[in-house]
Point group: none
Chain length 402, copies 2
Amino acid sequence: MQLHRFYSSLAIRNDNKIVVLLIDGLGGMSHKDYGYKTELEYANHPNLDRLASRGATGMLTPVLPGVTPGSGPAHLGLFGLDPISFNIGRGVLEALGIGVVPEPTDVLARGNFCTVDDEGAIVDRRAGRIPTHICEQRLALLRDIRVPQSDIELHAVQDHRFVLRLKGAGLDGDIENTDPGRVGAKPTPAKALAPGAETTANIVNAFVDQAFDRLKGQSVANALVLRGFSMLPNVPSFDELYGLRSAALAIYPMYKGLARTVGMDILDCGKTFSDQLRTLEAHWDRYDYFFIHYKYTDSCGEDGDFLSKVNHIEILDSCIDPLVRLDPAVLAVTGDHSTPAALKSHSWHPVPLLLISSTCRRDGSAAFTETACAKGSLGNIESKYLMGLLLGHALRLGKFGA
Amino acid sequence: MQLHRFYSSLAIRNDNKIVVLLIDGLGGMSHKDYGYKTELEYANHPNLDRLASRGATGMLTPVLPGVTPGSGPAHLGLFGLDPISFNIGRGVLEALGIGVVPEPTDVLARGNFCTVDDEGAIVDRRAGRIPTHICEQRLALLRDIRVPQSDIELHAVQDHRFVLRLKGAGLDGDIENTDPGRVGAKPTPAKALAPGAETTANIVNAFVDQAFDRLKGQSVANALVLRGFSMLPNVPSFDELYGLRSAALAIYPMYKGLARTVGMDILDCGKTFSDQLRTLEAHWDRYDYFFIHYKYTDSCGEDGDFLSKVNHIEILDSCIDPLVRLDPAVLAVTGDHSTPAALKSHSWHPVPLLLISSTCRRDGSAAFTETACAKGSLGNIESKYLMGLLLGHALRLGKFGA
């Protein structure tokens, strides 16, 4: 049985509220310029430490040891779904990232404008990274292209990048990239990778042919390639699975989109962590599960800015009191993955987990750091098991077996 | 997806070198005669302890909690293969142990000479443990046996034990033992356990019939039984899976053979640990992954010689400097399984793991012992995940998912 179905089979309803405070890219790596401490070890976070002393700690491995996850699998794991079975394609994620929420029947692809020579061979895979307003202009040339059996939507992302959305009945995302992946080759026709995807491949090719006609004559960005064809994973909602009325408090579109894949309501929540907590308070009675997404730690890690990541951990810590005062039945503080400033990217390192609940086993944790949590009583578990821990501590899972 | 295929799907190439120092049978058990310390806790190993303070530690569970592995599954796990799916049969392992490396089309079996009475019933299952030179004499009687469709090779192992190797096309190792497993019963004919193995079973029976004719009249070792019919597991190489040019520095034949199953080059590396490290240095530029096998700790454990195992740990520690100076991108020090002197055998106890890399999260480990490593930040993971940790820390795994 799939993990989420197993947990679902045990789920019962009650009034206990669950809050997940997700600090994006929370985990760090020893940094030689800062006494071989991680960002979390270097930061002052007395409030999180005090929470640790009332709770239980452990570590989450996002996918499997050594595996660095993208945001899609990292979040699906935290939502209780096996991130290897339920991967989210690049087309879908790109759409979610700009606030386009696909229907389950849509096919999405990530598009890149490129520049080709007179023979049609690619000379610049990114079309000189044209600015976004030129990308918009090129898309405007393509918006009234019509093909049978599908409606087409085009959305600019940034620079040369855009999203292609196909809407219609019977579409299938199992289609090979049209991007040959190298200069000197021509864009390839869309090929169905499964028998059911042939109609969709034909639709894509009909669109691309017309698009190439309309782009001809431009000096740059006179062609396009498509990749990451994908559909929303077929995921049941938190309400269906667990009887949880759930809401997300996220500022960035991609995380709103990821939360929507499991059926969360998306609350308008301002721009700061304190705004998010005010929104939480305002909607406290209406939901059973809240997902609060704190983004800035990840961005600083990606930028390689150790001290800025430290600073954003400290800001969060200094603002956390309203959340503590709401006294959820279960509060989990963790991350989706590590983003060590020393690596300037997501990484595979496990992420600290802090769980506070009147039903938890206090394990004497005195600090919320990677090193302290690695010794915590929850052990080092895959992120997909967090959902079970939350439900269990909320007394929302019935006994398994007689 | 199988674990090694999943890791393989993410693998990327770079110049970062990985070294695994495998201390065979490393893990121990509390010994009542030595203050309830393990061998590793009792030994002085300041250099390993110093490495621990620069790295991250954890524990490896070779197969599953409570399960004692043979050398085959213990090594396959360390090589990233699920040791339950990819078991190595006794026939193959026995061949590898005497330096016979099978072709993928060969069928191997472990043979025992036994003594039977006039009715053909076994009276001594080990033929009085005849010395190896008598075993050689008996095999000489059988070497010119010819059967259709297969070439037969016979290799003495030790005492009454030998290896039968069948070579030919279309052979299948799915054959039941001919060993009834008890005195008073007759050796049974080889039976195919799958339809495709019938030809091979007939070949075995044709050989055994002729062998019994030639052995008749000997007072001891006048018959034989065969068991552990098996073929090499169909395992892809490290190069195919991960783009790793890999080499093994092992002194004993079985470990050379195990390394060869995943496509490692076998380097001639002398007789001592220092010889092995000199060989490592000489071949440093030619490979991406080195597997160094240190045998003596296991042998002492098997002998129940606590202090000798302690001594061999101390010898290794005192000689390790040349390895440290080579400064591999990732160095792992661990074992394949535990061999506690108190048990005089392999055991199920998890094995300490030490990982040193500029990308590791230093976890404040101060010692390389079972107790210290059990509190380390890598947690207690199955051995099959070590490969992912090594590749991850070497930045040789790309991001999973968008």
